[in-house]
């Protein structure tokens, strides 16, 4: 096994610990603020994954949108609604145990299936040279995917207006 492959494995493992660990942190942390920070950690792990998967542009997008926007947004919200969550109380509801069990079982089932399936992996040659061109991505977005692209833009605008409508203080 070539050295760079071994490095990849090691990096993969580190990132996995980061991502899943962050995710678990999100789940178990009593403090919502800590949860948000763990979330950022997990997102960061995913950024690493994308790099490892040669999806550089996506890694950037992930960094910008998830960490830069969504996580921050969440932090804002946490701050806005802060103080009302009693830290002494459990942050988990009554069904957490059964929820854990179900989540675990789903994971097992999925894992078994995903592991068993012979994936139609592309040829060695194709695997070796993935198309990672960003301009190509741009052309895709504005070519075949132009309709989703436009729709997404409308969606964003609508979400914005909607968020304003919902969140704005009512003028008396």
């Amino acid at each position: 096994m070539p050295a760079d492959q071994i490095v990849r494995y090691i990096v993969f493992l580190i990132l996995t610990v980061m991502t899943l660990g962050g995710a678990l942190g999100v789940v178990v942390s009593r403090n919502l603020f800590h949860s948000a920070l763990f979330l950022v950690l997990s997102f960061a792990g995913v950024v690493g994954y994308y790099v490892l998967l040669d999806a550089g542009f996506l890694a950037a997008v992930q960094l910008l949108i998830y960490i830069g926007a969504i996580a921050i947004l969440i932090l804002f919200a946490v701050m806005l609604t802060r103080g009302l969550m009693d830290k002494r109380q459990s942050q988990h509801n009554q069904q957490w145990l059964i929820a854990a069990l179900v989540a675990l079982l789903i994971f097992v089932v999925l894992a078994v299936v995903l592991w068993q399936v012979e994936w139609p992996v592309a040829s060695e040659q194709a695997l070796a040279s993935p198309n990672v061109s960003v301009s190509q991505l741009g052309q895709e977005l504005l070519g075949p995917y132009v309709i989703p692209f436009e729709v997404a833009s409308v969606l964003l605008l609508v979400a914005l207006i909607g968020a304003v409508i919902l969140a704005r203080e009512t003028e008396s």
């Binding site: 990849r8 789940v27 979330l39 947004l73 609604t81 995903l114 919902l166 969140a167």
Partner: protein, 102 residues
Amino acid sequence: MIPLYWWLIVAAALFCIGLYAVLSRKNAIAVLMGIELMLNAVNLNLVAFWRYITPQALTGQVFAIFVITVAAAEAAVGLAIFISVYRMHGSINVEKLDTMRW
């Protein structure tokens, strides 16, 4: 190269952790975090599939970009809803929001 299913299993794990958050956390914002985790898992899936199955076509990546976009929009609207709920109910404890039932 790392076997595809490694990625997939990691993604599945991430997905299930997110699901667990959705199912068990009292605070709506924590629930939202869980949802974001689930979406990240999906994105990981998509990108991994792109890399391993259709490395030439960018389908998976494009899909992931759209997912991220939607996630952003969703988060915005979701948080706005949380705020209005907070304003009306004084809490965003999901468990307590059960005035309408049966």
